[in-house]
Point group: C2
Chain length 165, copies 2
Amino acid sequence: MIRMSKLTDYGIVLMTRLAEHSQAGENCSARDLARETGLPLPVVSKILKLLSKNRLLKSQRGANGGYSLARSATDISVSEVIGAMEGPIAVTECMDTPGDCRQEPVCPVRHNWRKINNAISSVLDAITVADMLEPLPDSLVTLTGLEIPLDGSKLTGGSASSLTA
Amino acid sequence: MIRMSKLTDYGIVLMTRLAEHSQAGENCSARDLARETGLPLPVVSKILKLLSKNRLLKSQRGANGGYSLARSATDISVSEVIGAMEGPIAVTECMDTPGDCRQEPVCPVRHNWRKINNAISSVLDAITVADMLEPLPDSLVTLTGLEIPLDGSKLTGGSASSLTA
DNA sequence: CGATACAGTACCAATTTAGTGCTGTATGGC
DNA sequence: GCCATACAGCACTAAATTGGTACTGTATCG
C-alpha cells in the first residue's frame, strides 16, 4: 500500500500542532501534546525525542520546558519529517539499501523506480508543515513527459480519474 | 520510508518480464520466470497466482501452460499491479481503513494526506508496465499550486533539488 | 492415464512496529 | 539547596506483518 508507519503519521500531526503553538511563541510539553491529540504520552514522548534528535525541534528541559519548532514551519518540509522518523524516502528496498538485491545489476526496472521515487520525493519536499495546516490545492502535480492514457478503462480503484488530486 | 513490500516489487518485475514474452506470443510458466529472475519458485508462484486472481494475468493449466498478460502492457498501470498485490495505494492508514483513528473527525491534516495520496496515485496510474521496460523521462511531474521553496536549505537527503526526477 | 502446471489454503519463522518502563540529567522555582 | 518538572537515552515486550514454504486439489495436453 506504499504506507508510512503510524508513528510517522503522528509525527506530522505533532509537528503541525507545534507549528500552531510556536507561532504564538509558546513551547509545549510532551504531556500537553499528548492531551491535545489523545495519543499515549510515552508514544508522543518517543516521537518528539526523535524529531528533536534530528534537529527539527528545539527542546527545553526543566520546569516550563517543552518543545518548539527549530525553524519556521514554512521552512520544514513533510519530506524532512518523514526522513527524521524513518529514514530517507525509498519506495523500493534497493533505493536505500543498494546491493542487497542479488539481481540489481540486471534489474530492468530499477532505474525507473529511482525516477518514480524522486518524483514522489519532490512532491513531499515541496509541501511544508505550514502547508499542512490549511487546505492544499486540489491539483498538486501535473504529469510531464508521459502519454496520458486516453481511455478510463484502467482506472479501477479510487485513484484519480483526471490528474487532479 | 514509504516503502512497498518486496513481493510487490517482484510483482512489477515479473509483469515486465511477462510483457516481453507476451509480445512474442509466448506464455511462460512460473518455473521459467523463477529461473529467469533467480527468485525462489514458490515465491514466484505465489505472486503470479495473486496477479492472476486479480485479472492482470491469464493463466493456462496443463502441459505447456503458463501465464501471460491479460491485457496489453501499455494498458496495465503500475498502480494496478500495486493494487493487486497489496490493496489500493494508501499512504496513511486512515486512507483505506477510515474510522480506525480515534481523532479522525478533528484531524487537521487528513484531507491534505488525501490530496497527497491522490497525487502519488496519479503518477503511478499514468505509468504502465510497458513504460517500465524503457527509461522513463527524467522529469515525471511538475508541481502545481505550490510555492516552490526558494532556498535549497531544506533539501538535505538525496531528494530532488529541482523538480526533475 | 500420467506428467505438467496452475489454484487454493494453511502454515511457519523472522522481521518490524507500536507501545512501555526505567534510569539519568538539565532547569526553574520556592 | 532542594524538589518537581520535563527532556534524553536505553532496553524491552507484544503484536502484527512479511517473506517464504508445503501440501492438496484440479485442469489440460499428449
